[in-house]
């Protein structure tokens, strides 16, 4: 019950961010589907985002990063969208050319 009666601190957010980050990394490492890898990247970015927001929050910390945290988070979200668009385009192109989205098959440049 201690958990419920204590106010939230920055590290609470950081731990959640760490979970997301690690999930993303594991996802990237284990998935063979290109889109699964893409989802892992999204998770990683979101874990980082959570940290930015937590550091920038006035509620969690009185000496917070201020606006910078939120603005960084915004940039991350926008860039994640851009990244997803490009990655998806690459995946589709790969699918068109190889009739597969298994990243293990993407070995054209292997000597």
């Amino acid at each position: 019950m201690d958990l419920l009666t204590q106010p939230v601190s920055v590290s609470h957010y950081l731990v959640v961010g760490a979970v997301l980050f690690v999930c993303g990394v594991v996802c990237m490492a284990t998935k063979r589907n290109a889109l699964g890898v893409l989802m892992g990247i999204e998770l990683v970015l979101n874990g980082a985002n959570l940290n930015f927001v937590a550091f920038g929050s006035r509620i969690l910390r009185s000496d917070s990063l201020g606006m910078d945290g939120q603005l960084m988070a915004l940039f991350v979200i926008v860039l994640a969208a851009a990244e997803a668009a490009v990655a998806l385009a690459i995946a589709l192109n790969f699918y068109n050319n190889h009739a597969s989205i298994d990243v293990d098959h993407a070995d054209d440049l292997k000597g």
């Binding site: 106010p7 284990t30 893409l38 979101n46 959570l50 927001v53 201020g66 997803a84």
Partner: protein
């Protein structure tokens, strides 16, 4: 009743949303069906938006909904459907890879959590958070201002004399914002170009 009265509702909702976020993030990792993965990712990111709301970053939370959940993930699901061959929907991971990933992930997680807990200021909750003015926390106009003209949070408080204000043009996010916008535009055009299948002509094999 006493117990209920002692509950920090903010913490309660934080725990609720963080459980959703982490739980579905784990579900993404352990699911092998790519459509389900996308769905779990949606819930995970949606709950993360809830965490943003709880941290007072309402604009970021709404942005997360709009761009991440409503845009990026729909795009992702689109991609899943376009490549939705039965054999690609469920792709199993080998046991050895799982073991590797477990080591890697576990180690990374321990490292991160250790680093998190090492800084005492981060562990201390902000006990004065009720004193934080509503306008200071929940105001999305400040973000707009920070992007275009000035940093509301860097302004001196009203009691102090306005001595060292932010010099004009510095620490303002107009230029990065412009760069990001142009970048986004370029990326979208590029993505559209990349995803476009080349002309298929069964008559000319070399062209196909």
């Amino acid at each position: 009743m006493m117990l209920l009265a002692a509950i920090q509702w903010h913490t309660f909702f934080f725990l609720l949303f963080s459980l959703l976020t982490c739980g579905f993030a784990l579900a993404v990792v352990f699911s092998s069906n790519v459509v389900r993965m996308a769905f779990f990712l949606t819930i995970s990111l949606g709950a993360a938006a809830g965490l943003f709301f709880l941290a007072g970053a309402e604009f970021v939370g709404a942005m997360q909904f709009m761009i991440y959940v409503g845009g990026t993930l729909v795009l992702l699901i689109f991609g899943v459907m376009l490549t939705a061959h039965e054999r690609f929907i469920s792709m199993k991971t080998k046991a050895g890879e799982w073991v590797m990933a477990a080591f890697l992930g576990g180690g990374l997680f321990l490292l991160l959590v250790r680093a998190t807990l090492m800084v005492p200021q981060w562990n201390a909750p902000n006990l004065q958070r009720d004193q934080v003015a509503q306008s200071e926390v929940h105001d999305s106009a400040a973000i707009g201002a920070a992007v275009s003209a000035y940093r509301a949070d860097s302004l001196p408080s009203s009691s102090a004399p306005p001595a060292a204000a932010v010099p004009a043009g510095k620490s303002v996010y107009l230029l990065p914002f412009e760069i990001v916008s142009v970048h986004l535009l370029v990326v979208l055009i590029g993505a559209g170009y990349l995803a476009r299948a080349k002309k298929r002509n069964p008559g000319n094999a070399w062209q196909a």
